[in-house]
């Protein structure tokens, strides 16, 4: 063993507290000095604490929540299946179908395979734990969710009008009454409606209409849910759809009276300021409105 190597072996033993004073004196003093300085510095280093157990407890030990699903806004198809489940659904971890639903808050979820879901307000996902145990990663979505899927078997998200399949990637699915869109942020996603099919790559999205037709659009690359951002972009969207999204986002009801809901709007709408959002949309369209607490009436 060369001198240098011998020195190195001594150094490593020295740091482990394995050397006698005599052996320590045998180490090259310059090197020892330098390393002492370095270790003096490094020994003051630390990393932030991990989250306390209480903070992570809900994510780890609970797998589903019981929620009263009394929403009339939901489209009949999904509402029916979920409503039935809600009736039968008690908090029994051994039960097969799990539903996780939100009302006024957003919720982050880790699925049984480790995939991450950020669930927006007034949304729900439903899946069968038995199917997932078998490796079938399928779930139903009503509302809006952002997914970060771990690589693995095909992962599919069904909404009222479409099914999105992905192998492991990041994407956002929006499925409110009458308005659906899928945006891919990373990887590849296949969107299928029965009458139309599209494969999306990074930065591409599609909107889905009630006939199942897909219209592509370009999306900015993000690595977080787009609805956690300040603005929501509408691109030639019908008022009908915009109203549905606003209602869900802000927990308000909008009564449109005789207003023509097929009118279209393009522009950015605030997701954090409800007054600003209403102004931005209705003012340029010449629609006046009154707002009383959570009720908005269009004139």
């Amino acid at each position: 063993m060369s001198d240098n190597e011998e020195n190195n072996v001594l150094l490593s033993k020295w740091l482990n507290g394995e050397l006698s004073q005599q052996e320590i004196n045998a180490i090259d003093p310059e090197t020892k000095n330098r390393l002492e300085k370095a270790m003096q510095e490094i020994d003051t280093w630390t990393l932030p604490d991990v989250k306390a157990y209480q903070e992570v407890k809900t994510t780890i030990t609970k797998q589903a929540k019981v929620v009263k699903l009394a929403s009339t806004r939901w489209v009949l198809g999904i509402a029916a299946s979920v409503a039935i489940l809600a009736g039968l659904f008690f908090f029994m971890p051994t039960d097969s179908k799990h539903t996780i639903a939100t009302q006024d808050i957003t919720q982050e979820i880790i699925l049984p395979d480790g995939s991450f879901v950020a669930l927006n307000k007034n949304s729900s996902i439903t899946y069968s734990t038995k199917a997932w145990e078998k490796g079938k990663r399928e779930l139903e979505l009503s509302g809006e969710a952002y997914f970060r899927v771990k690589k693995g078997a095909i992962f599919s998200v069904s909404t009222e009008h479409s099914t999105t399949e992905v192998l492991g990637t990041e994407f956002n699915v929006l499925a409110r009454k009458g308005f659906e869109s899928v945006t891919c942020y990373e990887g590849k996603v296949a969107v299928n409606t029965g009458s139309d099919k599209e494969i999306l790559t990074e930065g591409k999205g599609v909107t889905v209409d009630v006939q199942g037709n897909l219209s592509p659009f370009d999306a900015p690359i993000l690595n977080q849910p787009r609805w956690s951002e300040e603005y929501l972009q509408f691109s030639n969207s019908q008022l009908k759809e915009i109203i549905a999204v606003l209602e869900a986002n802000y927990n308000i009801t909008i009564t449109s009276g005789k207003i023509d809901l097929k009118r279209r709007y393009t522009g950015r709408v605030s997701q954090t300021d409800v007054k600003l959002a209403l102004e931005t949309i209705f003012l340029p369209m010449g629609i006046s409105y009154t707002m009383n607490e959570n009720e908005v009436i269009l004139k």
């Binding site: 740091l15 330098r34 390393l35 490094i42 003051t44 280093w45 992570v56 049984p112 771990k150």
Partner: protein, 176 residues
Amino acid sequence: MSKEKSVCDEINFQALYESYAQDVRNFMYYKCGDLAQAEDFTQQTFLKLWTNCKKVVFEKAKSFLFTVAKNDFLKDIAHQKVKLRFQQLTTTDTEKKSEQADESIRKKELKEALEEAISNLTEAQREVFLLNRIDKLKYREIADMLNISVKAVEKRMQKALEAINKCMKEFEINKI
């Protein structure tokens, strides 16, 4: 025969979390260089322990956690370049006062130089070095955790120390 502790008992599961979550998180951080990702993975690792609680013997839980950490989450990470950053234990007030401004600047520069040198180590050398210096583990413990021999740990340490020595040499030359 003594009653066996079940991992499915929340009291026991909590004890395991409180004993090992920090270690697992740090370990993942040394490997992936992203604190948020390391925390995310740590939670998922414990989630896996929870869903498999019936199958894991309490005494083997630590080994299960690190095996899952390595095999399930870290294997997907491309071995990308990392930039590790550490916090400093706060110095006492008296120490702070006696420190001159230029002294603190030099200290800061030293820290950054060392962080870079450590980040440039191979993943294998880096994890051994940091487990020893930050988590205060002995070589025997590191060998058990990583499933390698003590000799292998020592070799990696030696390489790490060579790099640190070189870093210090360069630092001293530049600072005089």
